[in-house]
Point group: C2
């Protein structure tokens, strides 16, 4: 009986592949370089070979595979499984990735989904969200990716582009965002924006212990900003408060939109720990209405580096069980 | 066979009751004063009597009734059908309204839902949203009520308080809202806020043809503001632009959150017609990202005064067919 699932996390640098049983226990996983420069055929062959390798190692045949989940950044036509284009994989243009992968893996049912949605689904089903039905998910990295789960289902929107949470406007006429809008939460609360706001303040002449980092290394990271905030640097503290306030505003706005049980942050910046989470919660408490006591849990994701493969496999299982694929 | 539905719109002033067949055609409707001062037993008896009267007039028996839907403002424990308290009906305190009404109507299955969600569901199933699966709904009145439909289902949230869209913060540190927050969209884009912003500007000394209205009548309505804007009064135009910009910001933010096919406005202020809708669309086009062309439809609701009873009956039918009640 086919009761195993493969989850694939296709990034610009590496392909991560995981084999899971029907209780979503990880049987085995592997990682190979994407080789994006060599074009989609080579990349797909690597994905397929990795998947077949995991099955073989586990003593399984292709018939034991129930379904395949693939997570990758957009823009893509997810319902049809086609990568339209990809910043990190320029040779992918209107590539029918889902069907190419499925074709190499015994034509098993497959699903292609946005990587942020996949990570969200992983946390929702196997991580901090596994006891709830409604969740908001935000990844704090170069930008801010998002995921929205309502009534136990991913909210994909009419064109598959829902949950672009980084582009919710929180400060009208604020900082310019790469997307063409102004005041997006991504322009304040992402790791890159945190570093950029510090850099700009120093370049504008503000005093800070980060000034020396910028001069010596030529750049500042969000990690530097949190470190210097911890050491009491005033500018760094202000920047970190601004990051937390932006994210707290999002929490307020998401609460009033979908009333999730939990709002989950992930991405490199959560390494800052309570220096970030505590501040977000304090700003949330200050900003939220007084009409009723809110009990939403604001927290960090727990799945770590395997989120992509767990989410992809779990989404494949869900879609398979629901008859969606 | 039980295939009729009763939809009840319980307001502070009137009870509206509608009888619908299984294709949601209105068989008959009636309206009676709520009599809220006389307490819940009297109000429920009026609801029940009105419902029975409609059945009798149509030559139907209680056995022909499949289910009952009731819409009323919160706060309520909607899943359990209990009105916790009510601004307009102070004698309703922890009143098990749903079961009281059902008890009077042959113990048929019944559902209690927030009035904004009910109106949203009416427009979604029988109005402008009937061809779509994802919709955002906002009522522009004293405040701003909201409704969110994703994947063909109302988003109720973990506590039944999702879609409090009036309290999404669009201008941090902005105007104070009754809810205790600052900068809520309700404090800019509602009918009351539109009138209040004009009044405050005049009281602060700004020149406007609305000044005379305020002096003569002691107050300004949003209708006055739109009328004077049409006649070219600069302050009135600025206020109306501000209202439209606030609502356009909400459209941008809701698009990036749930990516609905349509965003639907209703409430008294939509009488302003294109003077409002055209402005919202222009601000939306100016504010929205340039990453991709958006095709969301921003429009007005079409069901009019029967929205409450249509929505309540339609929600009862949906819940009944889904086995939720």
């Amino acid at each position: 009986m086919a009761e195993y699932f493969i989850g694939i996390d296709l990034g610009g640098t590496n392909i991560k592949v995981g084999l899971f049983d029907r209780t979503m226990n990880l049987v085995d996983k592997s990682s190979v370089p994407t080789g994006a420069d060599m074009g989609p055929e080579v990349v797909v062959e690597r994905m397929v070979t990795a998947g077949k390798g995991l099955l073989k190692e586990a003593g399984l045949r292709i018939e034991d595979l129930a379904a395949i989940g693939i997570g990758t950044p957009g823009p893509a036509d997810y319902p049809r499984g086609i990568v339209i284009k990809s910043t990190n994989m320029p040779k992918f243009v209107n590539t029918p990735l889902r069907d190419m992968v499925a074709s190499g893996l015994g034509n098993r049912p497959a699903i292609l989904e946005n990587d942020a949605n996949v990570a969200c689904w992983g946390e929702f089903t196997m991580g901090v969200g596994k006891e709830v039905t409604d969740m908001i998910f935000m990844t704090l990295g170069t930008g801010i990716g998002g995921g929205v789960v309502c009534n136990g289902e991913l909210v994909r929107g009419v064109g598959g582009n829902a949950a672009e949470l980084g582009h919710v406007i929180i400060y009208p006429n604020g900082r310019a965002c790469n997307c063409g809008q102004r005041g997006c939460v991504e322009a304040y609360g992402s790791a890159n924006a945190t570093a950029a706001r510090a850099t700009e303040a120093i370049q504008a002449g503000e005093e800070s212990s980060l000034g020396e980092v910028l001069r010596n290394r030529g750049e500042i990271t969000s990690k530097d900003v949190f470190l210097h905030a911890e050491n009491g640097d005033k500018l760094a503290c202000d920047i970190v408060e601004g990051t937390a306030e932006a994210l707290a505003l999002m929490c307020v706005n998401m609460l009033h939109t979908t009333e999730p049980a939990c709002i989950v942050f992930t991405g490199g910046m959560i390494a800052a720990g309570d220096a970030l989470l505590g501040r977000i919660c304090r700003h949330f408490d200050r900003l939220i209405w007084t009409l009723k006591k809110e009990t939403v849990t604001i927290c960090f994701a727990t799945l770590g580096e395997d989120t992509g493969i767990i989410g992809a496999a779990s989404l494949a299982q869900h879609a398979f069980q629901q008859g969606q694929i």
